[in-house]
Structure formats: C-alpha cells, structure tokens
Symmetry: C2
C-alpha cells in the first residue's frame, strides 16, 4: 500500500476536525450530566421518542435513529426505565418486538432539559459560525456522512425527522 500523504491544507483541517470530534461529546455530556443527570446519548434517546407519534418507538427503530447498536440501546433504555423516564411493553402485533414509550416524567424531563442543551449547542457551535458557514457545514457533514454510513441508516432517521417537522 502506497497512499499519498495529506497535503498541508488537509492536515490542518484534519487535526482540527479530530480535536472537535474528541472535545464536542465531552462538552455536551458535561452540561447534560450537570444539569439533568443525563448522558448526551440518553438525551438523544428521549428526544427521538418525544418526536415520535404516541411518543413510542420500537427498539430497532430507536436504535437506528440514535445511531446505536441494539445491545447498547437495551442497556440505556433499561436504566432510563429504572428512573421512570421510559417504559417498555411487548408489541401487540409481533411478540418479538418491544416498544419503548416516553412516560409523563420523561416528557417533562425533555422539556425542562432542552433549553439548556440548546444554549450549549448555540454557544459552542453556531454562535461561532456565519450563516454561510452553517450551510457549508451541512454540505460537508452530509458528504462525510455518506461515506461513514453507506447504507444511509442514520440519514433515514434525519430525513424522517425533517419530514415530521414539515
């Protein structure tokens, strides 16, 4: 294997991208853990449920939208269920499937947590960017995402979310 090395521009972009990818999850986790005792992934799960019809989704579908493996989601949902934020019930139409549903407490949790999380996202990302850079970022992240996720598993979730928003 004899690949071409990165150009200076590519290397500069790469070092910064790697730093962002390592730091951003920590910042998001930190704020949510302090203010709501939630992981960013926990929040993602609750948020996806909160936008679903009946605030209910099958585990497999929820795993797709949160971009998680099924074992990981299973552990996380079990912990959220122990805290009363989510409840699970077997699907009436398919005995193999499990439906996860947001409880009233879970719904309240999402609504009281969202503003702080949103403020963090603004502060650390969008306040630093011009409107032009926001659309550049959308194009860049979209292009990279296609390479990272060839089957479009995550993209499906994004499109579905966009559709629900009208």
């Amino acid at each position: 294997m004899e690949p071409r090395w990165l150009t200076d521009d590519e290397m500069a972009a790469w070092l910064r991208l790697v730093a962002v990818v390592e730091l951003l999850p920590g910042v998001l986790d930190g704020q949510l853990r302090r203010d709501a005792a939630l992981t960013h992934f926990d929040y993602h799960v609750l948020a996806m449920l909160s936008e679903a019809p009946q605030r209910t989704l099958r585990m497999t579908e929820l795993a797709t939208r949160t971009n998680a493996t099924l074992p990981r989601l299973s552990h996380v949902v079990r912990r959220l269920e122990e805290r009363g934020l989510v409840e699970r019930a077997p699907c009436p139409y398919d005995g193999r499937a499990t439906n996860a549903r947001l409880t009233a407490d879970g719904w309240a949790k999402v609504r009281e947590t969202a503003p702080g999380h949103l403020a963090t996202v603004r502060e650390h990302v969008f306040d630093a960017l011009t409107p032009e850079q926001v659309s550049q970022l959308e194009a860049i992240a979209g292009a990279v995402l296609e390479r990272l996720d060839p089957e479009g598993r995550v993209a499906v979730g994004i499109e579905a979310a966009a559709r629900r928003r009208g």
Copy 2:
C-alpha cells in the same frame, strides 16, 4: 431561560454533525483495532511521540497534544509500555516529571500502521470533499474549536505540530 430555537438550516447541519461525531470515532477505531490492535487514541499517542524530538515527550505535554486528561494518558501509556511500544523514565531535570519515549518496536508499529490509517481517513473524509470544502472545514472546525477549548490547549499542540513541519 428562553433561547431561540434552531433554524431549519442549523438543525439540518446539527443533525449531520452529531451523526459524524458519533460515527467517525467508531470507524477510525475499528480499522486500527482490526489491523493493528490499537485504539485511535493509542495511535494518536504513538504518532505524537514519533514526531517529537528524540521521539520523547513529557507526560503533560503528551496529554496536551493528544487532548487527553492526565489520568487517561497514564493508563494508556502503561498499557502501551506493557506491550513494549513505549517506555517511561523519570526526567533527569525534574524528579516529578516522567518522559515517555517511543521504542524501536513502537516506531516500527507507527510506520506499518500509518498507511492503512491514512487510507481510512482519505476514504471516509477527504475523498468526499472538494478542495474548497477542505479549507471551509478548516475554518469551521477552527472556529468551533476556539469555543470548545477556550484556553487553546489543543490549539497549542496543533500549532506546535505545524511548526515542526516547517
């Protein structure tokens, strides 16, 4: 707290960015674990050492350049030392400090691992982007990085790396 919600453009960019941030580490880890039994963070540590003078760095400096906490680095370097890729020695000038140095085996490991890693980076990131997008990405990631890392700890490492490259 009454923040303004995200615009449609911002939301689209955000969903894609979150997906990239969650998927990219897994892809990098996966390739390196399969091909070299290394975490991406392990590789980052070895790579930073391989570029340093004498292939040696103090733990604190290495932590800055790899964007890690000191306890995390300590555990990782201990494991790398057990595998013979790195060795540690007390700093002769400051009895508190520890120098980490790449061994011959570690140097060989980096050289045989770099091409595959580089190919993965190209395949999943830069092959998807135009040259214009690469420089846009550098600007965007740089701007976000300033917000994520106000003291510029990581930025120092990046600048230092750039300086070494001339």
